[in-house]
């Protein structure tokens, strides 16, 4: 593996930032015939990867997209990511997608499948009903049957079969990527001065616009360079960031946070890290993916799991990352996020743990006020933990 220095690292970040702003992958890697779109939070990308469809997370339009069509199709009270995703569909930016899958994470997200079917009937769209009751004994069997259904549909779209061996190969590729992402997050936890939240986010998000194997290669290079960085630790509080599971905060917002805090863990694009351990590479691959969803998965405000109360995983994140405080964010008009924000802030109050409550929109462009809030918050934190 070639060694990458700081300038090489900057080139990687620049590439990632270019990819972040692309609505679909700018180029199709060898072996892939078409991109296939999926909405947050989690999608079993291995199923698309195995038939040569490039999994492409559809993440809205960020803060550079002007809505010209979506206003006539979605109410003003709907969150930005759903509205701008509709806009990207309506303005033709997503026309290269072989299909589109959304999930029962919230009702606005489910409606995207209807909007797709009415406006782009040639582009198959569906809701993948990943279960909200993973605690029931039939959950794995049900998910496996849904994955089989999806597998056959993807095979039809791609015009080629995904054998069990194809799927196992994809699982191996994704397992390697998951391991590297865990390393990235461990580095942030242990030496947060070596990689900022915004840098880590750029690296992570790049997977949504390239093949997983290419992404792993890039991550390996970046991780080696990040570890070799010689940067002094600064006097910044350690915080966790919550609220980035679906709509994405603008990069400038994360950079603003980086200015005053070390973000030692987060839930940004948690769907890309949803499976927390390796998926078994032997046996029935579809069953392995389904079982991993139930038994070895992360948590979010839009997934009910009696084993993972929301306050519980919040406290786990704080403890495991040795954080001093939490940034509790929610996207504007995101009902599940806003509900969770109330519960989390009440809980942290009870636990006497500092938290800063922030609301954002992907389309926000001004962060001066947020910077002042963060500065005050960081100062008070440093004072209280000194």
């Amino acid at each position: 593996m070639p060694q990458v220095d700081e300038s090489g690292l900057n080139a990687i970040f620049e590439r990632c930032n270019m990819l972040r702003q692309a609505p679909v992958p700018p180029e199709l890697p060898e072996g892939f015939t078409q991109p296939f779109g999926h909405f947050p939070v989690y999608f079993p990308e291995e199923l698309a990867h195995a038939v040569g469809l490039l999994p492409t997370a559809v993440l809205g339009g960020g803060n550079q997209l002007e809505l010209k069509h979506a206003d006539a199709h979605m109410g003003s009270f709907v969150c930005s990511i759903c509205r701008s995703t509709a806009e990207l569909g309506l303005n033709g930016s997503l026309k290269s997608l072989a299909g589109f899958v959304t999930h029962p994470i919230c009702d606005a997200a489910k409606h995207l499948a209807g909007i797709w079917s009415r406006n782009f009937p040639e582009q198959p769209a569906q809701i993948l009903y990943l279960p909200q009751n993973v605690n029931s004994s039939g959950a794995v069997r049900y998910i496996a049957s849904e994955y089989q259904r999806l597998r056959h549909q993807l095979e039809n779209m791609a015009g080629r079969e995904a054998t069990d061996d194809d799927l196992k190969r994809s699982i191996r590729i994704y397992n390697e990527n998951r391991r590297l992402l865990r390393e990235l997050y461990a580095l942030r936890r242990d030496e947060p001065w070596k990689v900022s939240c915004s840098e880590s986010y750029l690296l992570l998000r790049a997977r949504t616009r390239m093949a997983c194997e290419q992404h792993s290669e890039m991550l390996r290079e970046a991780l080696a360079a990040l570890r070799a960085r010689e940067m002094p630790a600064q006097d910044k509080p350690r915080v966790i960031f919550l609220g980035g599971f679906c709509e994405q905060p603008p990069l400038e917002m994360l950079e603003t946070i980086d200015d005053t805090c070390y973000v030692v863990d987060d839930d940004l694009l948690i769907g890309l890290r949803w499976l927390t351990e390796d998926v078994p590479e032997t046996g029935d691959p579809v069953w392995a993916l389904a079982e991993s969803f139930v038994e070895r998965s992360a948590a979010s405000p839009v997934q009910h799991d009696a084993r993972k109360p929301k306050e519980g995983y919040l406290m786990d994140m704080l403890r495991d990352s040795r954080a001093d405080a939490a940034l509790l964010t929610a996207a504007k008009f995101c009902e599940p996020g806003l509900d969770e924000q109330v519960a989390w802030s009440k809980h942290l109050d009870q636990e006497n743990i500092h938290a800063l409550v922030l609301e954002f929109e992907e389309k926000s462009t001004s962060f001066e006020q947020m910077a002042m809030q963060l500065e005050t918050f960081a100062e008070s934190l440093l004072f209280s933990i000194a």
């Binding site: 409606h111 569906q126 069997r141 049900y142 009910h304």
Partner: protein, 447 residues
Amino acid sequence: MTTNTATTQDGASDFDARVDGQRLMKAWYAGLDDANARGAHVANVFVMGNAVEILRAFDFELVFPEINSLQTGVRKASEEYIRLSEDYGMSPDVCSYVKADVGLILKEQKHPAGQIPKADIAIASNMCSTFIKWAEIWERMLGTPAFVLDLPGQRSAGFEVRQGDAQHAADSRWVEAQFRDLIEKCEKLTGKRLDLDKLAEILDRVNKMVAHWNAVMELNRACPAPFNAMLDGLTYIGIMNVYRGTDEGVEYMKNLEASLRARVARGEGRVENERFRLLFSGTPCYVSMRRLVELFESWGGVFVYSDYLTFAAGGMDAGELVYDTSRPLESLAEITTLAAQRGLSNQFFAHERLAKQIREYAVDGIVFHGIKSCRFVSSGMADTRDYLGSRLDAPSLYIESDLIDPRYWSDAQIKNRVDAFFETLERRVGGAPMENQPAAQRRRSLL
């Protein structure tokens, strides 16, 4: 304008749909008021996907938090509850039903209709995502354990599942597995074993209620329509939900059908001179529903159908949804799955159902009521409107207010829009009374 009082051939001469409905709702609240004191087991359930049949078999008292919240609106008390929850920290941008309920918890369950008991269990389906977040609030604030009932919904446009096909079998198996878990929980909570015969009797009563309910809905295809779906219909669905699977529910629905049938036979309509047949898509605005209906009826417009009467009544009017009482649990899973796909989650592909209802009810125009409080009905509404307007040339009106938050009701603005809508309709389809023509024979129907 007349009421739904009717003399029927089967002796229901003193039946009055509104008065009897109110009496039943009052009796339900009275039963809740002392439920905790009586030591009754209590379950919180929602109107979409709720396993009421199983809970009734264990003699649970049923609390419908959505109905509690809407009743704060009907009784003009909702703002107080909503403001309490916003002071507590709830966002202005989330469901006002949830906020009214958080207000209720903060007021120690004191509701304008009486004391609401604390529940031993809450059943929240995934049909509306907010149900799950709502149940998590009860877990935190009241310690009520939540059981999430995951119902695989309609996956895509044109998705059709028939009883017994492979997809239906797989989906039903998943729902049945969850029902078995729920039964185990209920057995632990109540100390009783599930009585399958009792469950079968409950299913039988639901079958009867649904048969009457479907007939009631169909009767409104007559011209003039015997009831207003968004006023009278709101009373009817209250009974469909609260008394589902009970003798009182069967009796009410039987009398309702008979009384409406008699009205149709007499040629009596909800409004004296029905001029426009309208479809209402969305939720009511319970704080001002009577006023909203008045704005339409003053023009001779009557809501002959509303998708609210489908999804808020459990989605059982989609046809072929009859329980097989000889295999109650399996059949409950099979029909619950179909109802979820054909009558609830098809809201995400609303154009399919609305296009059908426009034809069947000979609709002149559609009124869409978009509200921030309910993303389940509202998120795709503008797009559905655009689609139906361009593909079916269906005239429509889009208004915004809220379920129960009076701060979002703007009387003058809504009246202006309603008046303008009717002026357009008049120019388009004329405005002569219908002269009791059956809808199917009308010449000026849309399609």
